[in-house]
C-alpha cells in the first residue's frame, strides 16, 4: 500500500496499533503510521458500519478518527506519534475509555 523511501533516515519510534507493536518513524502522524503498517481502513462508520480510512490527511474530513491512549475520536492525521502511544482503530462511535488497547 505504502512503502518508505529507502534513503529516509528518520528515527524509529515504536507505537502499539490495536495492541501490536509497530515501528513508525519520527515525523509520522498517527494516520501515516496506520498506512505504513498496511492498514487502509481505520474505523467503521457509526451510521452504516461501512469501513472508512484516511481520506484527506489534513484535518478536514474526520474519516481517520481513532482512539489514541484511550481518548476516542481523535483525527489520526493531526496527531504526531510518540513512543509507546496506544492507537486503536474504532468501530462505530466509542465513548471515552472504550476500546483502549
Amino acid at each position: 500500500m505504502f512503502a518508505r523511501l529507502p534513503e529516509s533516515g528518520a528515527e524509529a519510534i515504536v507505537v502499539a496499533i490495536d495492541g501490536v507493536a509497530f515501528e513508525a518513524r519520527a515525523g509520522d502522524t498517527v494516520a501515516a503510521a496506520l498506512l505504513a503498517s498496511g492498514r487502509v481502513a481505520s474505523r467503521t462508520s457509526p451510521v452504516s458500519g461501512a469501513a472508512r480510512g484516511p481520506f484527506c490527511l489534513m484535518g478536514v474530513c474526520f474519516d481517520c478518527l481513532v482512539t489514541i491512549d484511550g481518548v476516542p475520536n481523535q483525527r489520526a492525521c493531526m496527531v504526531a506519534i510518540a513512543s509507546g502511544m496506544r492507537i486503536t482503530t474504532q468501530r462505530g462511535a466509542p465513548m471515552p475509555g472504550e476500546g483502549a488497547a
Binding site: 500500500m1 490527511l57 474526520f62
Partner: protein
Amino acid sequence: MKTYDVAVVGAGPAGLVAATTTASLGLATIVFDESPSPGGQIYRAVTTTPVRRPELLGRDYWHGAGLVRPFRASGAEYLPATTVWAAARGAEGFDLGISGGRPGTRIGGTFAARALLVASGAIERPLPFPGWTLPGVMTAGAVQGLFKSSALVPTGRVVLAGSGPLLWQVAWQLVNAGAAIDRVLETIPRGRLAEAMRHAPGFMFSTYLARGLELVRTVRRRTNVVEHVAELEARGDGRVEAVRYVVDGEWTEIPADLLVVSHGVVPNIHLPAALGCDLEWSPDQSAFQPIADAWGGTSAEAVYVAGDVAGIAGARGAEARGRLAALGIANALGRIDAARRDALAAPAQKALAIALRGRRFLDVLYRPAPGFLHPHGATLACRCEEVTADTVREAVRDGAATLHALRAATRCGMGPCQGRSCLGTATEILADELGADPATLAPPSIRFPLRPVTLAEVAAWPSRADAQERVSRDD
C-alpha cells in the same frame, strides 16, 4: 489573558509572510497552526522532511524554507499543532478559544488580539462519486502530504483521477519517487480546452506554463493517461479493489489498490464565515469565498483574510497577499501611515499581479465537469451522515430551498466535519434542482465551535459578564 496586536491563523505562505511582516513592524504577533511544523500544506514538513533527495520534491517546494527562516527570526510567537475553534469579540479585541497538544494532555486556553488575520488556506474540493468513501480512496493532497512528511510512496496498483495542477504535480512527484502509476484518468470534458484557449494569451505569461508543461510531459512519458473521463467509480469490499470509468459512453474496469483523486482546491472558509465575514460565490472556482478588499480587509471589523482562503491564487499569490494584509493591519492599528503602507506594498502588489496572470485559463480549463459537480442517485453527498445525492435532491423538491433548510431536512453537513466535505456539493445540487445560479443562493451559515470539542474545552472559555447576563434569570 495575554493580549496581542495580531493573531494569525495558519502558517502556510500567507500566514508566515504576514506574521513576519507585522512582527518586524513591532506589532505583538502570535501564529496558531494546526500542523506540527510551519509551511502549510504546500510547504508541509519543509523543515523536517525525511526525503533526502531534494529534487524529488521539486524546486518550488524548497522555496518554502526561505519563508520559515525570516519568520523564525521575526519575533512572532508560534503555537504549532493548535486549533482555533472559537473567536468572539471581547474587551480587548478578539478572544480566541484554542486547543492542541497530545490527546489527554490537551492545552487549552484563550488569547486576545486586536486584529485577526485568517490564513487558513484551501481544502481539496471534495467531489463525490460512487465508492468515494471506500478505504484506499484518498485525495492527491493526502498522498503528497504522506510523501513530504513521512517519505511514504504508494505501492501496488495506483490510479490517479481528476484534473488540475495538483493532480499533475503529485503524479510527477510519485513517478520520480519510483511509484508505478497504472493510469491517470483526466476528467476534463471534451471542448473545454477550446473554451479555455480564449484566455490563453494571459496564460502565455504565466509562471505556471513552463513548469506545468514539464510536469505533464514527464508524467505522460511514464504512465498511461486517459482523457475525457466522464464518470468514475471505486469498487471493493471494505477497500478499493477496482476502479471503473467512462469515456465516450464506454465503461472500463481496472484493478486498483489506491485511487488518488484531485479536482482542485477551494477556500477553507469556516473561520471567516463564522466570524461573520460576508461571502460571495466565485463562478470561476465554483466555491464560496470571503469578500475582501485590496488589504485583505473583510466586512467584519478587524478581521482580515490572506492566501487561498481569500480566493485561490496559489502559493506565490498567498505570499503577496500575506504581505499586503500585514501592511493593511499595521496601518489600521496605527503602526504605519498610509504613505508608508503604500510604499512598502508596491513589490507585493507587483508579485500578486504576476501570480494571478493566466489564472483564468487554469480556472476555466480545470473547472470540474458538470457530471462531477452534480452527483445523482445513491452517491454519498455527505460522508459523515451518509446522505445520498438523491436524498438531498428530494429534500429540495420537497421545499428545502436554502442550504440551511437542506441541512435541517437531511442532516447533510451536520456530522463531525461540519460540512467541509459536502458544502460545495449541497450548494451545487441545490442550484441544479432549483435551476438557479449558485451565486444567487444565500451563503452557508457557519457557527462556532469550528471543531467538535470536549466539555472541558468549552469550560475553559472565559465567562464574560455579557454572556452571563444572557443566560441568567432576573428572579
